[in-house]
Amino acid sequence: MLRYSRAKIAAVLFLAVAGFVYSAPSLMSPETRTALRESTPGFLPSWLMPHQAIVLGLDLQGGSHVLLEVDSAAVLKTQVATLRDDMRRILRDEKIALAGGLAVLPRGVSVRITDEAERKRVVPKFRELVTPTSSIMGGGGQPAMTLVEDQDGLVTLSITDAGVTEKIRKAIDQAIEVLRRRIDALGTTEPNIQRQGVDRILVQVPGLQDPKRLKDILGTTAQLEFRMVAEGNSSSPDVEMLPQTEANQPPLPIEKRVIVQGEDLIDAQPGFDQRTSEPIVNFKFNIRGAQRFGTATSESVGRALAIVLDKKVISAPRIQTAITGGQGQISGRFTVEAANNLAILLRAGALPAPLTIVEERTVGPGLGQDSINAGKIAAYVAAFLVVGFMFVTYGLFGLFANIALIIHVVLIFAMMSLIGTTLTLPGIAGIVLTIGTAVDSNVLIYERIREEARQGRSMIASLDAGFTRAFATIVDSNVTMFIAAAILFFLGSGPVRGFAVTMVFGIVTTVVTAVTMTRMMIALWYTRARPQKLPF
């Protein structure tokens, strides 16, 4: 009980000091923290120098949390369409004329080839589609497609579950890249974009004043197409009616053939029309796009060219002269902001599939600051009440417990800063709650010491028995709390998870501070003061 090796005392002291040192950056200005980080000597890992402030959750610093889900049906539809095109190309290359044509199924494409010789020629080519080159990383070794040949010449290629999942995974990867480019263009600080589950993307953007703009930018697929406005017969199968973005305008007949797509753009910038000073978007094509655009415009001078974004016509200007320079402008009665947004979307590229917002949580910066203030006051008041209560109940021992309590809270902050976990409003509540529960270990020990003393043991024997016997109970009772908090961590999301984190950290540190640290303090006090009886 009384003997502690110098190394052990040093270790505990070091832990306490490290707690203060690593939680200190949260109280510094951002400039000081940057200076600290930059002054780290090169041979040391950067985390060793305390410079990390605690990360505040979006509910405390204000910001938007948006959960997007990829439209799996649309992904599958594109996949089937690509398959159909591939099969059609193979049949054309092999010069096979079909009686029935290709049948598009929900999950695949089938074709009836009655002539056996023709079928023998085509099926191996189809098989090449089934075993695509992506087998290097393919969906866990499972085939993305299956090929079934019926006796009566019906060949069916279907996309497997693994194939769909793989495609969705790729679509999400691409979408994350596109979203990152788009959000970076908004100029916000430290956005967090990550995959969630199979078909979702979580976007967290701190400190944004206007979430509507963010949502507009996230929710747009931005598939840009240049297509001709149909002349004459608008009921042809090669023509479709598309609505216009401008309100109260009739739909226009647009040819299905796409001249140039958004992927051929290399730049897009907002600007103003020189004559009308209306906001516009200037764009530049790559070489392929410039060639196609040049050819198409020179063939169709005088006709109207539709600029179509996500199946809506932005505008359909008449082609005055051939545009061969690979540059042009989009006008469409934009506001300045709309022109800005469109330029961002075009630069970042189109999403591989439409994304839908399934959850949104936005906290304004004012509310975030109010929450921080409220949390601070609650924490101070709780600490004051608990510290006072412990002191009037246990006197000097209460003081020891209180010192341990302060180090306990400091250690939670230090751990959170070092690991980089997020502090949320429920997290603050969790810390305040641990202020109340952390002293439980001390209470267990002290009450046990009293009991042992009442049974007539010597002071030193009571102290020793108190610590040893209470320890088993402390472990047991904290494990149950830990289980509940850990489950909450794995199931909860966002703010609630922040609560679980502080609870888990609080449980871990309380065992160190309330047991080891108070024990040392009591041992030191006992060896110095040599008291005859318990002070409480």
Partner: protein, 317 residues
């Protein structure tokens, strides 16, 4: 200095005799809770129902709650719940799930912004679509069930099965009463409430385990003592700790209720309720249940035959 002592040192209260009162009492309030749960129901927040929650603060001094209510009803977005809170003109609007699946929800915020955007600052906007709310319900239920099973297994390993069963009965008791509390007070039930419930489960078990630890210790020490007497002794000797910890935890929670802000307030009220019933159930439910389950310490079955040899040892203490 005269130090504070809530529980006198020589307390020896007959807790077990109280089970004839506490069991029917608990049965009654559990029934009331179940009744309230089904008759009144919980006031589910948008986390679980889906929908839109908007908190706004007036920019022009005083919030005119009546006109907000009228204007919100005229938005034609189904049932809307308008509430004034705080003391600086803060208003919350809660809309139910709109038709039109995931996409249908997005229109609400825009309509509300168009109507109130001039006079109010939007402080919080939460939109939860139908799919996400369904998943949150699942993970909430799963969390509570999993934690009870996990703790049951842990206690079964650490103690005997009787203790595990006693602890789980007490925990279920607390759970039922907490649901009743949410139903009767109509405090909004959301993801934070699940956090509160899991913390109550953790706290209640923590309390129960401390008492059980002592029971186990005393069972080993006094093998001949009648079980009821032994349970009384265990509870009395841990009573002062039980009360101390309830007080420190409640003090911290009280600070949260008074100063923690509106989001934390309902969480903290539920927690305070949980601390009170968690303490009650450890003493008046979990421990007396052991009498009926016939709690014994492992190894006792063999030692029972050599009880006479043990008896001399325990009297020597």
């Amino acid at each position: 200095m005269k130090l504070l002592r809530i529980i006198p040192d020589d307390t020896s209260f007959g807790f077990m005799a109280f089970r004839r009162l506490s069991f029917p009492f608990s049965a009654l309030i559990s029934l009331i809770s179940v009744g309230a749960f089904f008759a009144i129901g919980l006031n589910f927040g948008i986390d679980f129902t889906g929908g839109t929650l908007i908190e706004m603060k007036t920019l022009t001094g005083k919030a005119d709650i009546a006109s907000v209510r009228t204007a919100a009803a005229e938005l034609d977005l189904g049932d809307v719940e308008v509430q004034e809170f705080g003391n600086q003109g803060e208003v919350s609007l809660r809309f139910g799930l709109q038709p039109g699946g995931e996409k249908g929800q997005q229109a609400v915020v825009e309509r509300v912004r168009a109507t109130f955007g001039k006079d109010y600052e939007f402080r919080r906007v939460e939109v939860v679509g139908p799919r996400v709310s369904g998943e949150l319900v699942q993970s909430g239920i799963l969390g509570v069930v999993l934690s009870i099973i996990a703790v049951l297994i842990y206690l079964w390993f650490r103690f005997e099965w009787q203790f595990a069963v006693g602890a789980v009965i007490a925990t279920l008791h607390d759970l039922v009463l907490t649901m009743g509390f949410f139903a009767i007070t109509q405090i909004e039930f959301n993801m934070t409430s699940i956090a509160a419930i899991l913390t109550i489960v953790g706290y209640s078990l923590n309390d129960t385990v401390v008492v059980f630890d002592r029971i186990r210790e005393l069972l080993r020490k006094y093998k001949k003592m009648p079980i009821a007497e032994l349970l009384d002794l265990s509870i009395n000797s841990t009573l002062s700790r039980t009360v101390m910890t309830s007080v420190t935890t409640s003090l911290a929670l009280l600070a949260l209720v008074l100063f923690g802000g509106s989001v934390i307030k309902s969480f903290s009220w539920a927690m305070i309720f949980g601390v009170v019933i968690g303490t009650y159930s450890s003493i008046f439910i979990a421990a007396p249940v052991l009498i009926y389950l016939g709690a014994r310490v492992s190894g006792d079955t063999q030692e029972a035959s050599t009880e006479s040899a043990d008896a001399s040892q325990s009297t020597a203490r």
